[in-house]
Subunit: 415 residues, 2 copies
C-alpha cells in the first residue's frame, strides 16, 4: 500500500474540490446516494462478513449493534446524504469587507480546511456521513474506520468513488483506508508528510488522547463532557426540577448529559427533597457534599474526584453553593468546558453567568441536552469540539472551513 | 522555581481576567504605561546588563540591536500600550442569535482563549506588547523571552505587576518567566499539566518547529512566507511593474515579501525585459525557468527547490505560465499558503484566483506587502498565522479569542 501516493493524491485534489461549485458537489452527493441504493445487496453482504467475523472474535453486543447494517440503517444513511445536499454551502461566503486608508478593500472569504482525516470506530454509517460533510464543505478527506468494519467500509467506498466519477470529480477527493493496518493511522497524522492537514478523531477518550499526542497536524477533538446545571436562589422550582431531570436522565451515555448539579443554599432545603423524589424512579445515585447529605439522607458522600467525573450513567454529584460566583468558579475549575447551564429568573445573574462560564456552550433556563448540532440548527454535525481554538462546541459544515483574508486593490503598493 | 504553582496561578485567574470590564483592562494598561515611564532608569539599567553580557558572549550585531533599549524605544513601547488601550474590546461580542423550532435562542459570544503562552526571542519590546494584547483580549498569559533579554524582561515584568496591582487585577494575569532555564519552556507546553492552554511561538523556523513538535496544547504559528505575484495576460503593465517591484524590494527580510513571480506567456516578452530593468538598481538576482531565460539573458537557471524557497533576500524566482490555472496550481503546490497576489484587469480571472488560491491572504492588484495587521486594520498584531485552523493570516485581538455558543431558553427540555 503506497501511503505516500495517497498523501500526494489527497493534496493534488485540494484545489479541485475547494473550487467545485455547489451544484457539482450536490450532484456528486446525489450520485453517491444512488450508488448506495443500487449497491444495497453488496453493502449488506460485505457487512455480513464483518458481523460474522466480529461475532467469531467475541465482539461485545453493543459494538456488534453499531457495526451491523440492515435495510432501515441503509435508508437512514441515504437520508443523511440527502439532508446534507439540502444544507447551504459554507464555502465562498464573503464578510466584513472594509476600505482601509491605503485604499485597499479587506475582508474575509470562507475556505475549506484542505485534507481532513477522520479516524473513527467500527460504525459504517460514519463513513458515508463524514464523506458527505467533507465533500459539501469543499474538503478532500481520508477516512479510517475501525478494522472490524473494514469490508463494510470498502463497499461504501466503492459507492462514493462511483458517485464522484459520475460527476467528473477526482476519486481521490474521498479516500477510504484501503487497509486495516494500524500504521495507516500513523501515515495520516504523522511522519514528514502527514497525509492530512487536520485530524478529527471520533471515539473513546483513549483513542483521542493517543491521536492528539502523536499527531503532527492540528486535531479537532472532543474529550470530556462533565456538564453542570446551577440552580440559582431566584428560580421557578418546577422549571428547575424539569431541567435537572431532563439534563440528567434523558440519556445517560451522551456527552451533553449533566453530571453535576450546583444548588444555591437559599433553595437547597426546598429543592433537594423534591429533586430526590424526581430522580427516585430513575434509580439515580446521588453523591453529595456535606450540606446536601444533611438534607438528602439517601445521598452518598462525594469526594473531590466526583466533581471531575463524567459518569455517563445514573449517578449525579450535587453540591450546595453560596453564590453564583461559587458556582462559576466550581464549573470553570472542575468542569470540562463542554456545556453548562443556569436556572435563574434574575436578569443580572443570568448575564453574569453567560459571560463568566468558559464552556463551549453556556445555557440559560434550558437543558444541557440542547448542546447539539441539530438543535442548534447546523443541520448536521461531525462532532462536538472541546478545544479552545477554532470551532468550539458542535461542529457542522462551517466548522470544517475557515476564513482567509481577501484584498482588492487598484495598484496599491506599500510606501 | 515552582512551575506547578505558576500553572495553577495562571488557571486560577482565567475567570477574573476574562470577566474584567473594558474599563478595568484599559486602566491596568494605562497603569502599566505609567509604571514603565516611571521605571525608565531601572529598565535601561537592566537592559544595559543584558547588552553587556550579550556583547561579551559575542552576540551578533543584529541580535544586539534587537536586544538594546534606549529612550526612543521605551517611548515606542509606551505608545504601543496606548494604541492597544484605544482598540475595541473583542470580548463579549454576541452574534448570529437565531430562534430554533424548540423555542431556544442560540448564537455566539466571543470569549478569551484562556492562558496564552508566548515564546519569543531576545526582544524586550515583545514582552510589553504581548502582555498588553493578552490583557486587552481577556487572556491570562505566560511570557518567555530569549534568555539574553532576561534582566530587561524582569524589569518590564515589575512594571506590569505594578500596573495590575494598581487596579486590583491579580498579578498572575501576566507571568513573565522568572528563570532563563530551558526547562521552563517544557513546563509551558508539555507535561501532564501544561501551564498554557494555547502556545504562540515567535521567532525562527527552527524554534517554531521544535515547539510545535513538543507541544501538548494547540499552537498558533507562523512558518514560511513563500509569497507569489502572478501577472495575468490582461493587465496594465505599469501597474504590474510597480507591484512586482514593491512586493520584492520594499523589504527583503519580511514574510510578506514576494519570493516568486509567475508571468503569463502572453505578456512575458514585453514585461520581463522591463522587469529586469526595474530590478537592476536593487541588484536582485533573477532565477528563471527556461522560458524566462530565453528572454532575460541575465537570469540564472531556477531548480525545483527555488519554487519552494523563501529567500528573504534580493533573489526572485520567475516562471512563465500558460494560464491562470497553471499559476494557481503552482501557488497551491509550491507556496506556503501565506500571501499570494494577482495582477489582472479581467473580472472573471480575478474572481477565480481569489476563490482558488488557498492562502491566508489572497490579494488582487496590490502588493503582497499589505498582508499585515496594521494595514488590515487590526490595530495591533501578535503575529501572522500560517495554520489552517483558527485564525489565518494576521492575528490581532480577535484572533486571541474564540466564540462560545450561548443559549437562552424559558424552561425548555429535550423531548
Amino acid at each position: 500500500m503506497n501511503y505516500q501516493k495517497m498523501a500526494e493524491n489527497a493534496k493534488a485534489v485540494r484545489t479541485a474540490i475547494a473550487t467545485a461549485s455547489t451544484n457539482t458537489k450536490n450532484a456528486a452527493l446525489l450520485a453517491i446516494r444512488d450508488a448506495m441504493a443500487a449497491s444495497r445487496p453488496e453493502i449488506l453482504k460485505a457487512n455480513q462478513k464483518d458481523v460474522d467475523a466480529g461475532r467469531n472474535s467475541g465482539l461485545d453486543s453493543a459494538l456488534l449493534d453499531r457495526l451491523e447494517l440492515n435495510d432501515a440503517r441503509i435508508d437512514a444513511m441515504i437520508e443523511g446524504v440527502e439532508q446534507i445536499v439540502a444544507l447551504p454551502d459554507p464555502v465562498g461566503e464573503v464578510s466584513r469587507m472594509t476600505r482601509r486608508p491605503s485604499g485597499i478593500e479587506v475582508g474575509f472569504m470562507r475556505q475549506p480546511l484542505g485534507v481532513i482525516g477522520i479516524i473513527y470506530e467500527s460504525r459504517p454509517n460514519v463513513t458515508i456521513d463524514a464523506a458527505a460533510l467533507c465533500l459539501k464543505s469543499g474538503n478532500a478527506c481520508v477516512l479510517r474506520g475501525g478494522s472490524e468494519a473494514f469490508h463494510s467500509n470498502q463497499a461504501i467506498a466503492e459507492c462514493i468513488s462511483a458517485g464522484l466519477k459520475a460527476v467528473g470529480l477526482p476519486e481521490a477527493c474521498v479516500q477510504v483506508a484501503p487497509t486495516a493496518d494500524r500504521d495507516f493511522v500513523g501515515a495520516m497524522i504523522g511522519g514528514d508528510q502527514p497525509m492530512c492537514d487536520v485530524i478529527i478523531p471520533r471515539g473513546g477518550k483513549g483513542l483521542i488522547e493517543r491521536i492528539s499526542k502523536d499527531a503532527r497536524v492540528p486535531v479537532i477533538k472532543h474529550l470530556d463532557g462533565n456538564c453542570h446545571v446551577y440552580v440559582d436562589s431566584e428560580c421557578e422550582q418546577e422549571e428547575a426540577l424539569r431541567i435537572l431531570e431532563n439534563a440528567k436522565t434523558h440519556r445517560y451515555g451522551v456527552c451533553n448529559a449533566a453530571e453535576s448539579f450546583l444548588i444555591h443554599e437559599a433553595v437547597a432545603e426546598s429543592l433537594l427533597p423534591a429533586l430526590e423524589k424526581v430522580l427516585k424512579p430513575y434509580d439515580v445515585e446521588i453523591r453529595g457534599c456535606e450540606r446536601v447529605r444533611a438534607i438528602v439522607s439517601s445521598a452518598n458522600a462525594a469526594t473531590e474526584e466526583d466533581w471531575f467525573e463524567e459518569y455517563l450513567g445514573p449517578i449525579v454529584a450535587i453540591k450546595v453553593v453560596s453564590s453564583v460566583d461559587e458556582a462559576i468558579e466550581h464549573i470553570n475549575t472542575f468542569g470540562s468546558h463542554h456545556t453548562d447551564a443556569i436556572v435563574s429568573t434574575n436578569y443580572k445573574t443570568v448575564r453574569h453567568f453567560m459571560r463568566a462560564v468558559d464552556s463551549s456552550s453556556v445555557i440559560a433556563n434550558a437543558s444541557t441536552r440542547f448542546a447539539d448540532g441539530f438543535e442548534y440548527g447546523l443541520g448536521a454535525e461531525i462532532g462536538i469540539s472541546t478545544d479552545r481554538i477554532h470551532a468550539r462546541g458542535p461542529v457542522g459544515l462551517e466548522g470544517l472551513t475557515n476564513q482567509k483574508w481577501i484584498v482588492f486593490g487598484e495598484g496599491q503598493v506599500r510606501a
